[in-house]
Amino acid sequence: ADLQKASLRLKWLPQAQFAGFYVAAAKGYYKAEGIDLTINPGGPNLLTENLVATGADSFGLSGGTDSVFAARDKGLPIVCIGVSHQITPFIFVTRKDGPVKTIQDFKGKTVTTWFTGANHVLNGMLAKEGIKPDELKIQPQQVSVTPFVDGNVDVITATYYNEYYSIQSRMPKDSLKIFVAEDYGITFPRDTLIVAEATAKEKPELVKAFLRASLMGWKDAFADPKGAVDTVMAAAPTLDRAQQEFMLTEVKRLMTAGTAAKNGMFWIDADAVKTAHDFFLKYGVISKPVDLAAAYDASFIQSIPAADRLP
């Protein structure tokens, strides 16, 4: 009866990328923890950090470490309480039989990428190889993968769980070659769980309860992917089931990669965060060093028994 009202703002519309939260809500795990949770989808022009900082939403699944740094840099009072995708969730894709064999071949080619952080990863990879960004044509990437499929673009950026699937559904998987950021020493954790500083300070129990329920939801989602996809599709019935099932598989891989394999989901890998921070500082994405201890508070996730964190 005395449920506490709270909301979770996603970074995008309902899809299997967020399955665990929907499953937890559907199975009443939040209620069991005393939370009356509303899940608010994101949109193309919404910034999760902003909505959480102003108190419009209590929790957020926001862009990633990059957006957390940027928000802290601009003085938004938010704290990251968990990291979902432990490794860079996107890759750079080209045709196996195309002109691009190595990263050196990017020179003079048309490369599309998102200017929401992925562009910095690309720049980092190029810099590692001694290539300057103006040696190739970097263009903002549109929604559609068609320009790549049609051969109008040489290299395209793709998330493992979404665009890569779209491309594979339109051309054979073995005709593709991929470039992975980690191969160039760059790791870019994304999909960060955030709360307002005030929430972290004043309602630590609420935060912990939210994490406990969410973890249960994710565990269930991975245990029963079909059921999880059903739950997601109840919220967004027009989605393509096959794609959602693929997405859930890939998301599981991203959420349990790296140190999370050992420490469990939403683990904050301080080293990975520090590496990413230095990387963004170097590329001017943030103007000055960010106080990492204030920006990333691992205490909440750590307070939960390890067994509950592991899928």
Partner: protein, 252 residues
């Protein structure tokens, strides 16, 4: 009574007073309530941000205005062309008009996903979107204008031996001008907005693109600076067409 006495300069004074009051309230709220920039930046901060980012913003405004103007021009041509075709061949009316009304009652933004898919995220998709939005307005207002012609004036022209084209050129087109230009004036602001909206869904540049990027970079001062520029650009475009309208329609 007060209407006759109010001088235009008083109207201008009041307009300025209104603007000043608005800016003062805005500034006062932002400063007085210590609103953070991500809630509402102060006007002075926005103007400062506008100045410091002027190069980017001018570029972006140029980009957006180019899309808007080309799309606008294209839309006007298509709208006028269709209306004239209907005027010359009335049989076309039953074919075109219901379709145009139906398409027009669907919000333009509805088409944006398709147009972006078909025409890519470059300038062409924006131009197409603007042209679509503009051409329907122009078609409908131009048709209303052409239909407004006095039947007796048409008879008069015919009695002089004028052809269908002669009637169109010397009588129906001038008669349609006031409504056409009113439609064109309204369409100016629409064309800039449609360009920006489409840019926000995917673009290589432009004010919509700047706004989209600035939101993601949590630079709300820049968001508002871009909005200010967009508004100024729209007003300038609106003013220009309004000015031309008054020049052209000297007789009204």
């Amino acid at each position: 009574m007060s209407r006759a006495l109010a001088s235009p300069s008083l109207a201008v004074q009041r307009g300025i007073l209104g603007a000043v009051l608005l800016v003062a309230c805005w500034e006062g709220a932002a400063r007085g309530l210590h609103l953070p920039a991500y809630v509402l930046p102060a006007v002075s901060d926005i103007l400062a941000g506008l100045w410091s980012k002027r190069a980017t913003l001018i570029d972006a405004a140029g980009y957006t205005l180019l899309e808007a103007l080309v799309g606008y021009g294209l839309g006007c041509l298509i709208g006028i062309g269709l209306a004239v075709a209907i005027a010359l061949a009335p049989a076309l009316r039953t074919a075109i008009l219901p379709l145009a009304t139906a398409i027009n009652s669907v919000p333009v933004v509805g088409y944006s996903p398709l147009i972006l898919l078909w025409f890519g995220i470059g300038v062409s998709s924006k131009i197409v979107m603007v042209a679509m939005a503009v051409s329907f307005t122009i078609l409908l207002s131009m048709l209303a204008g052409l239909d407004r012609v006095d039947r007796r004036a048409v008879d008069l022209m015919k009695s002089f031996g004028a052809s269908r084209f002669g009637v169109l050129w010397r009588l129906r087109l001038p008669t349609a001008l006031p409504l056409l230009l009113a439609g064109m004036r309204v369409s100016t602001v629409r064309s800039v907005i449609v360009a920006i909206v489409t840019e926000m869904l995917g673009a290589h540049g432009g004010l919509g693109w700047v706004i989209y990027q600035a939101v993601l970079q949590i630079d709300f001062v820049q968001v508002w600076a871009a909005i200010f520029v967009a508004s100024a650009a729209s007003l300038a475009f609106f003013g220009l067409i309004g000015f031309l309208e008054r020049k052209i329609l000297f007789w009204t």
